[in-house]
C-alpha cells in the first residue's frame, strides 16, 4: 500500500502539515498533478526544505517512482549531488537554489514536480512493485551512507489509524529527510495528526515558540535536544502529552528531568537505527530496557546480545548499504547494531557505540559512559566526551560541559565535577581536559558531534 492510499480514510479537510508554506490539508497533500504517470519508473531525488511540499511530492511519487532519494536541505549542494550520483538518480526536485544552479548532464534539476513532469514525456516507464525510499545515515563521523527502505519498512511500527491522531499536534525538531525525522513525519501523517514542521534550519528556541503557539502535544527528540530544550526559558509551558527520546542513550537523569517538567505526559525512549529499521520503545522511565525483552521480544523485533553487542532481527530490514559490498545483515537476518551493552540487575544498559570507543593505551573508553557520569553531577546540564590525540597513549579522554547556571563560578564547578568523576571513573576514563562551554554542535539528526581533536 502506498503513502497516498494510507491517507484514503482521512477527510479532505483534515490539516496534516503546518510548514513555512502554510497549512496542508489532506486534499492538498494528495492532489495529483496532470500526467503524473509520465514519471513511472523514475529515480528521483528530493531536496526540499518545506515538509509540506515534500510530503505532497512523496504522495505523488510513492507507488510510481522506482526510487526516491531523500536529501537533506541542510547539507551542502556538492554533497547532495554526489549522493544523487551515487544513487544513480535521473533528476532532483529541489528548492535549494545552489542545487538548482548546478549544471549536470546526467542529473536534471527542477524546482517542482510539475516541472519534472513537463520535462520529459517518459522516463523509465516501468512501475516497480514498490518504490524504494533511500535515506542517508546521519553518522556522527564520516561521509553519509545510503540505506534502502520502503514505505512499508518505514511504517512498520506505525499504527495506521486515521482516527487516533485527531487533535494531536506533533512537533518536528529533526530533519525530516533523516530516519528519525521521517518516523515523526510518517507517524504523524498516517495517524491523521497535525505535524508542526518549521524549517529544519530554524533555531531551536524559535521552533519551540512555534510549537508553543500552536499547542504541540507530541514531541520527539534526542536526549541532547531534550537537555537543550529544558534549558530554554518557557519550554515548560509546552503542554505535552507524549515525550519521546531516541537516537542516543537516554539516561535516568534526563528521563526523570523531562518527566518532572511535563508531569501529564507519557515519557518513552526508543531504540532505533536507520540500518535496522525501527526498533522498540520503553516507557517505564528507566534507562535501558528489561532483560526480558531478550526472550519475549517487543513489537516483533527480535533482540539478542552477542559479545556485548546488541543484535536485532527485523524482517523488513535493508540488507546492505547501497553501492557498497558491506553486508549489513547476516544470512539469518540478524543485524549487528554496533551498540555496546551490558546486562545489570535485569536491565540491558546501553554503553555506547562500539565504533566510538576511545582507545587509551589499550584500554577502551565509551564516551557515552563518561558523559553519563558527568551528567550525573547536579551542576552539569550537558556533556560531550571525545578523544584527544596523544603521542604516548594514542588518545586521552577530553570533555566539554555546559553548566546549569551560566553565571556560576567556573573554577569551583570544574573542581567539583572533576572530583565527582574521579570517584566514579577509572583513571584512564577520566577526562584530562574539562572545558566549560556555552553550547554544543549537534548533527542533522540531533545527535551530539564528538569530533576528535
Amino acid at each position: 500500500m502506498s503513502l497516498k492510499h494510507n491517507l484514503d480514510a482521512l477527510p479532505g479537510d483534515r490539516e496534516l502539515v503546518l510548514s513555512s508554506s502554510g497549512v496542508w490539508e489532506k486534499a492538498r497533500v494528495v492532489a495529483q498533478p496532470r500526467n503524473a504517470a509520465r514519471l513511472a519508473g523514475i529515480k528521483v531525488a528530493l531536496c526540499i526544505a518545506d515538509a509540506g511540499v515534500a510530503l505532497r511530492a512523496l504522495c505523488v511519487l510513492d507507488g510510481i517512482a522506482q526510487q526516491i532519494l531523500l536529501l537533506s536541505p541542510a547539507a551542502h549542494a556538492d554533497l547532495n549531488i554526489s549522493l544523487a550520483t551515487r544513487a544513480q538518480c535521473d533528476a532532483v526536485i529541489t528548492d535549494d537554489l545552489a542545487l538548482l544552479a548546478v549544471p549536470s548532464e546526467c542529473l536534471l534539476s527542477v524546482p517542482t514536480i510539475e516541472s519534472l513532469i513537463a520535462a520529459r514525456a517518459q522516463w523509465n516507464g516501468v512501475v516497480g512493485e514498490k518504490t524504494r525510499w533511500i535515506m542517508t545515515t546521519s553518522g556522527t563521523t564520516g561521509t553519509p551512507k545510503l540505506v534502502s527502505h520502503s514505505f512499508a519498512s518505514l511504517t512498520r511500527s506505525t499504527k495506521i489509524d486515521a482516527t487516533r491522531g485527531l487533535g494531536q499536534k506533533w512537533g518536528m525538531v529533526y530533519d525530516y529527510t533523516r530516519f528519525a525525522g521521517m518516523q515523526v513525519l510518517l507517524q504523524s501523517v498516517c495517524s491523521g495528526a497535525l505535524l508542526l514542521a518549521p524549517n529544519y534550519g530554524m533555531a531551536l528556541n524559535d521552533k519551540l515558540m512555534v510549537f508553543s503557539q500552536h499547542g504541540c502535544t507530541h514531541l520527539s527528540a534526542t536526549p541532547t535536544f531534550w537537555r537543550k530544550i529544558t534549558m530554554i526559558p518557557n519550554s515548560e509551558k509546552l503542554n505535552l502529552k507524549q515525550v519521546t527520546m531516541g537516537g542516543e542513550i537516554a539516561d535516568d537523569r534526563i528521563l526523570s528531568v523531562v518527566s518532572a517538567r511535563y508531569p501529564t505526559s507519557r515519557v518513552a525512549h526508543i531504540f532505533a537505527s536507520t540500518e535496522a529499521g525501527v526498533g522498540f520503545s520503553v516507557a517505564d522511565g528507566k534507562a535501558g530496557f528489561p532483560e526480558s525483552y531478550l526472550s519475549s521480544p517487543p513489537a516483533g523485533v527480535e533482540i539478542r546480545v552477542v559479545e556485548d553487542i546488541l543484535h536485532v532481527r527485523n524482517p523488513h530490514v535493508a540488507s546492505r548499504y547501497l553501492g557498497e559490498q558491506t553486508v549489513l545483515s547476516q544470512d539469518d537476518g540478524w543485524v549487528d547494531t554496533g551498540d555496546a551493552v551490558s546486562i545489570r540487575d535485569g536491565r540491558v544498559i546501553f554503553l555506547g557505540r562500539a565504533s566510538g570507543v576511545i582507545n587509551v593505551g589499550g584500554d577502551k573508553v565509551h564516551p557515552e559512559q563518561v558523559e553519563q557520569v558527568l551528567l550525573s553531577h547536579p551542576d552539569v546540564a550537558a556533556a560531550r566526551v571525545y578523544a584527544r590525540s596523544n603521542p604516548i597513549t594514542g588518545a586521552l579522554v577530553a570533555a566539554d560541559i555546559v553548566v546549569v547556571d551560566p553565571d556560576a563560578e567556573v573554577k569551583s564547578i570544574k573542581k567539583s565535577v572533576e572530583s565527582h568523576a574521579a570517584s566514579l571513573l577509572e583513571r584512564h576514563q577520566m577526562p584530562v581536559l574539562l572545558k566549560v562551554v556555552s553550547d554544543f554542535d549537534v548533527n542533522a539528526a540531533g545527535k551530539l558531534l564528538r569530533n576528535d581533536k
Binding site: 587509551v360 593505551g361 590525540s389 603521542p391 604516548i392 586521552l396 581536559l433
Partner: protein, 90 residues
C-alpha cells in the same frame, strides 16, 4: 611567537609535572628533579606521562611530539626539557 628560554621552560614543566604527579599518584615527588633524573623512575606511569604532555600542550600551545620529525622519546628530565625547547614553533 618568541621562544621561551630553556630555563623558563624547565620551571614551567617542573610545575606542571609536580601538579600532574600529585593528581595521579596522590603524593609528592620523593626526590628533587634534576637534569639527570630518569623520567620513568619518578613513579609517574605512561598514562601519567600522557596526561603530562596534554597538560603541557594546554599551557604552551604546542606538542613537540607531533611537531618533531625524530622518533624520539626523552629519557631524562633534562632531555625532556631540551626536547620541548628545541621543538618550539617559531
Amino acid at each position: 611567537m618568541t621562544k621561551i628560554t630553556e630555563t623558563a621552560l624547565a620551571t614551567l614543566i617542573l610545575q606542571v609535572f609536580q601538579d600532574t604527579y600529585q593528581l595521579q599518584t596522590g603524593g609528592e615527588l620523593e626526590a628533587a628533579m634534576t637534569h639527570d633524573t630518569v623520567l620513568l623512575n619518578t613513579g609517574l606511569d605512561s598514562l601519567g606521562f600522557a596526561i603530562l604532555v596534554t597538560k603541557l600542550e594546554e599551557e604552551l600551545d604546542f606538542d613537540p611530539f607531533s611537531l618533531s620529525k625524530d622518533a624520539f622519546y626523552p629519557q631524562t628530565f633534562g632531555e625532556f626539557v631540551k626536547f620541548y625547547h628545541q621543538n618550539q614553533p617559531v
